[in-house]
Symmetry: C2
Subunit: 414 residues, 2 copies
């Protein structure tokens, strides 16, 4: 399977060798070929409107099925929302349309973006989960069915499936992209993100969608802090080897790299992610729980059974811990000589089987910190492994510049 490059498609469209309609048709052909085995979609527009102009014209986009679309159902991965048709597009979808893109299909999501697995298969790792919750978006890009897809991350729902499926995933700074019209799980954590075939593609798309051209900059040589996480259970040897391989290649390409460690405070902050997420999710899904508990999938049902017992005082304390940790991280990075941190994207390769969507423990802290994260696939044999680039809050440009540098170094390596 060859992935569809957004920048290549746009270059051909701008050169006049491909029309936007032909580009979308090409995407639809790829979907027809691969979807029967991958099952990344829950709905596809049979007769999409394809704008002739716009900086993303010809680009078909997959929309995670917790994001409202006026022209396609939005079913939240749950029978409770079977055939549910919102009135309006979420702002992120309206924005894509305004840029000329075609929100072609809704992609599978775990129910309400929690952890009960989907039917989606991992195009790069047969027999293994594609990850979650944004399973369909990651798999669709990995299978070459779409050049761009939207996901959301509350714990690790963008970076983890992207890493497992061998694509680039971007979780931007908190609220860089508006989550209005996106089904809420946790209002202080839910973050919209992108999946693309390359960091260059992702940077180009994010700059346009956010209306912030400065996000899309040429790669420069970054100063990197190498973070071997010790604030939670260690990563698997394969993930650490991939991180070391990435380090070696980046170093050979000229990057300045030094070890970086987080103060103990962040171990505590890491623990409190669950308090915040769980307290908020119990409120966010109150109607679903109160009126349709039996229709909830088992992991989410059990989660809400317990998370609704969290006390407001525990939540307030967790919010204070998070607030303090965000300020500490800002100060630490501001006072360092580092552009970005480099760490693992996930504990290892996608777990075998389909009973789990994998583990978000190397993503949750960063989601809570609100900082931009990008996962880039590391070259190697076997099922994909990614490394995660992390920059300061609001400095999405720097995260993507470093990701592009790594991507180029990985491609150019001898």
């Amino acid at each position: 399977m060859t992935m569809l490059s957004l920048l290549s498609m746009r270059a051909r469209i701008e050169a006049g060798s491909l029309t936007p309609a032909e580009a979308v048709a090409l995407t639809r052909d790829a979907i027809a070929e691969h979807e029967p085995s991958i099952r990344a979609f829950v709905a596809t527009d049979p007769d999409p409107h394809v704008p002739d102009t716009g900086p993303l014209s010809g680009i078909a986009v997959g929309i995670k099925d917790i994001i409202d679309t006026a022209h396609l159902p939005t079913q939240m991965g749950s029978s409770i929302y079977r055939d549910w048709q919102p009135r309006a597009d979420a702002p992120i979808v309206a924005r894509l349309k305004r840029l000329g893109a075609v929100p072609l299909a809704k992609t599978t999501t775990t129910a309400f973006a929690f952890i009960d697995p989907t039917e989606t298969r991992n195009p790069r790792a047969p027999g293994r989960t594609p990850g979650g919750s944004s399973a369909g978006s990651a798999a669709a890009v990995a299978a070459g069915m779409l050049p761009l897809a939207l996901g959301t991350q509350t714990g690790g729902s963008v970076i983890r499936p992207a890493a497992y499926c061998g694509v680039v995933g971007v979780k931007p700074s908190f609220r860089l992209l508006p989550t209005v019209g996106v089904k809420c799980f946790s209002w202080t954590l839910d973050t919209l993100g992108l999946f693309a075939a390359s960091a260059a593609d992702a940077a180009h798309a994010l700059a346009l969608i956010a209306g912030r051209p400065e996000i899309d900059q040429p790669a420069t040589v970054p100063r990197i802090g190498l973070l071997i996480p010790d604030y939670c259970e260690a990563a698997e040897p394969e993930a650490l080897e991939a991180l070391d391989r990435a380090r070696a290649i980046a170093e050979a390409a000229g990057a300045g790299i030094r070890a970086f460690t987080l103060p103990d405070e962040f171990r505590h902050a890491f623990d409190e992610h669950a308090t915040i997420q769980d307290f908020e999710s119990a409120q966010a899904l109150a109607w679903e729980y109160e009126t349709h508990r039996d229709s909830l999938p088992p992991l989410l049902r059990a989660h809400l059974d317990t998370s609704r017992t969290i006390e407001a005082a525990a939540y307030d304390a967790a919010r204070r811990v998070a607030h303090h940790a965000r300020r500490s991280l800002r100060d630490i990075l501001r006072n360092s000589d580092l552009d970005v941190l480099l760490t693992v994207s996930a504990p290892g390769r996608a777990p075998e089987g389909y009973a789990s969507t994998g583990d978000s423990r190397f993503n949750r802290l960063w989601t809570m910190m609100g900082v931009p994260c990008v996962t880039v696939p590391v070259p190697g044999e076997g099922p994909p492994l990614g490394v995660q680039v992390i920059a300061r809050f609001g400095d999405d440009a720097r995260a993507l510049v470093a990701a592009k540098f790594l991507e180029k170094a990985f491609t150019d390596r001898p």
Copy 2:
């Protein structure tokens, strides 16, 4: 018109002299009597389920019509959402139901909670606006049609209509109540609030809804900072007279009162409210603007025509100003000997006529600061005037305790 007191109704229900069903029937009778002249409702449940138990059983609640309800349409005050029926209850509605309350009716709102007036009339000030955007909720409580109603405030949409209609309005700390399932205008400003007949009623309801019993405390004698606002155009003499009357009564009742002024920084912060609100509203309402511009009411349409031109850099700068001002206010209040600030709720009485919903300039700064605000009607002749109590972020209890103190002093005065 006599207002319906939540605490009185609950006392009768707990004493067994009124059943929850009778309490709701009483409310429905009041609606039948007054609604034809007030026009506070857009939909009423013809056959409401009335729980027999729960700490708010028997309490019929008005729900501003930008808040999703599974059993009643949610029309956003706009023809674009005519007959729109959400699938789910917003968490705040699910919470009310869980407490035994009856979300009986949807109340009028200006379109998308902006400033194009509704058809609602002010029960206390014939010929004058009830204010907005939560017009129906304020008017319904003022007319004695409901003991409790929900509103939202992005600029001054709870405190202003409450003051104009002579009821108590509470805008709690930012995100004390989840805005999930509430149509978004500005995600960093939109705040859910309550309308009730008294501060005691409002405190009782807020403590239950938020699941924070500590919010409902007995009145104690507060230390008050008297704020004559100078960070924007001055209030009208009548409003300043009412503030001085409130001060005199509070002082006579034993409150410690001293003058309080805000540093110049807050003048700048005040100005930036619009930058944040307008930038976010252009995104939040992108679908409505792109696809239904001609169906938008004139003031909102003109607002979106201009607000969509705001640059991301201006927004980022405004967010930094707001962030800094929030920290400054926290430090100023923390280092003071004051429990609360006391200031005007609105520039004056409700403006005459129905062409405007009035002016939110004495509310916007506090919405942006995220701090709890309560308006309490000041005794006097003529159309209502309110004073506004403001406490530190997260200290909703203290704002309501002081409001209760004022309310009692106003009632007990010789």
